[in-house]
């Protein structure tokens, strides 16, 4: 799998891979909630943990760890870097 390049959903990143958030499409409230946690467009995000089946992902943003539900993570578009 190539590690850089075209935009993809956060859940398509592998553990240890990083990217820049391009857009968040999880609805107004959730998007705002994430932005208040420091995860807005342009933020660098690293996937720490993925989980079995369709479980959540654990990411690191602004030096803090955050767990995001799968459905939400799938609506976050990132550019791997």
């Amino acid at each position: 799998m190539d590690t850089s390049g075209k935009p993809r959903s956060l859940i398509d990143l592998q553990e240890g891979q990083s990217g820049i958030v391009l857009s968040l499409n999880g609805g107004r409230n959730l998007t705002k909630r994430l932005a208040d946690l420091g995860m807005g467009p342009g933020t660098r995000i690293t996937v720490l943990r993925t989980s079995l089946f369709s479980g959540p992902v654990q990411v690191e943003v602004t030096g803090s760890k955050l767990v995001l539900g799968r459905g939400l993570a799938s609506k976050i578009l990132v550019e791997p870097r």
Binding site: D36, P41, Q58, G63, K65, L66, V67, G69
Partner: protein, 644 residues
Amino acid sequence: MKDNKRISVVLAGQGNTGKTSIFNYYTGSHQHTGNWAGKTIEKLEGTLYYKDYTIDVLDLPGIYSLTTLSVEELIAREYIIKHKPDVVINIVDATNLERNLIFTLQLLELECPLIIALNMVDIAKKKGIEIDTGKLQEKFNAPVIPTIAKRGTGLTELMDKVIEVKENGHEPGMIRYGREIESCVDELSAELKNTGLLYSERWIAIKLLEKDSEITNTISQIRPELIRRKETLEKRLEEIHGHDSSLVISDERSHYAAQIVSETAIMRPHRKLSLSDRLDIITTHKFAGYLVMILIVGGMFLTVFKLGNWLSSVLETVFSSWHNWWIASVGETFLASLSWSAIEGVLALVEIALPYILPFYIILYILEEWGYIARISFLMDNLMHKIGIHGKGCISFIIGLGCNVPGCLSCRIMESRRERFLTAVLVTLVPCSAVSVIVFGLVGKYVGLIWAFGLYVFAMVIIFIAGKILSKLLPGEPVELIMPMPDYKKPHLKAILYQTWDALKEFIYIAAPIVIIAGVVIQAINLAGWMPAISRFMSPVTVNWLGLPAITGILLIFGILRKELILVMLAAYLGTTEFAEVLTPVQMITLAVVSMFYVPCIATVSVLWKEYGWKRALAVTLIEILFAILLAGLVYRLLSLFDL
């Protein structure tokens, strides 16, 4: 007129930053803390007397924003604006500096007198995070005091600073954002003069651009003409930045916070991975994580069982010698036997219930303080979605294993009302430590450990099925999980001991009196000759359907008060804990199943009532009674087919 020698202080900050730890230190209280965000669900008030001052301290639930996304956030900002506390202490977690400062900026926007407590500097130091507090202080134009809440380090200086701010006043720092945002804010606030609102014009302007629903509503009522203006300005921001103006403001804060962190903090990790990260390699691993979880949770139950049995048998030998002594020295008169029955009730409570309940609480508190609960939420999120809620619901379930009352209350961490109720109902099905007394002390001890474990697995299956059905009945989409993941922390021993002591106190002050009264009532009913009548009244259910001895009828009635009473009162009534003499293994299991599900105890029902109204509380209670009786009867019939 505000009292000169009185200071009001509010502790505000994101979740899991140590607010309650600081509150406890100042007010000498033992409010529960835990290493996950969302432990405190209601504001806590306390008082401190220091240097001639009476200081009222208020602990708020952790929040991440002052925009109205949740009730807690609305309450927090209303409180700060309306009550105008003398000082707001913003507790900042030094190990999550950047994220925490985003919230600090929002507090600064409120233009309240602010002091920053830079907490958890011990962990930050271990992680190699160096923060230049002097510089931070300059950037925010607010005092910054490094603290270690659980040791009390820095908390005296912090309070001295509070007094200093109160005495000398403090010009709160003003935060200036980027040029485009500031020009929009200025244009809008110029038109917001004399609104009669308590908020500053600048703050209202920011909130309007941030599309805060409450402020927008207020303004559209008193200045409807301004809404057009606001929308034009929002468009302007959106055109420049390419996304929603509410995000533009949040982003601006994030950048500001990032900028400050880059200027004031240096990261020099001693090693590549911290201890917490190394633990997480296995504890949140796709496969190994589940194995570890089963081991930890299984180990917890096994410890409770083994330790409980051992303690119980030690106490039994001690207490039985007391009985002999009582007979020898007080005699066996009518009065002596009656008073012994009261004593016996309490002894039975101590002997049967305490040995299981206490270890249960201690282990749960350790897991909470350590930070493992959040890992369980992460691992279980997927499964929880199948029953219409998300991973945080697991936190309530685990708290419910100790006691359903805090379990139901903790459901407030769920975001929507639907999920709160759904989780609360499921929590009432979680076998609490009182039920574990029956599961371990009766089934585990006399039928076999495997059956006790089996009952827990059975309860999980029932909860899952109930969740499936409920989530179908209550319409709505499950909310997605957003949860800050805390680092593992060394469990704070003092906090654990105090919290355990609380549980013990409840035993002494509530359970013991109930047992004595219940014991006397049962004796009185017995002496009055009413027992057969009551037993007969209950017997269609207890004897005919459930196959239990008639005496269980009255026990199940008392069990509504506290579930461990079922076993405790049985022991007191029989005058022995040799339950095998009166119950067959099948009856034991049947009794355990009814006890598990038949009714949330009275305290839990009253919480449901308070949180969700009497109709729902009553409905849940009635349905669970019927369900438990039906289920236990089936279990009885099924098990009777086999020879146990």
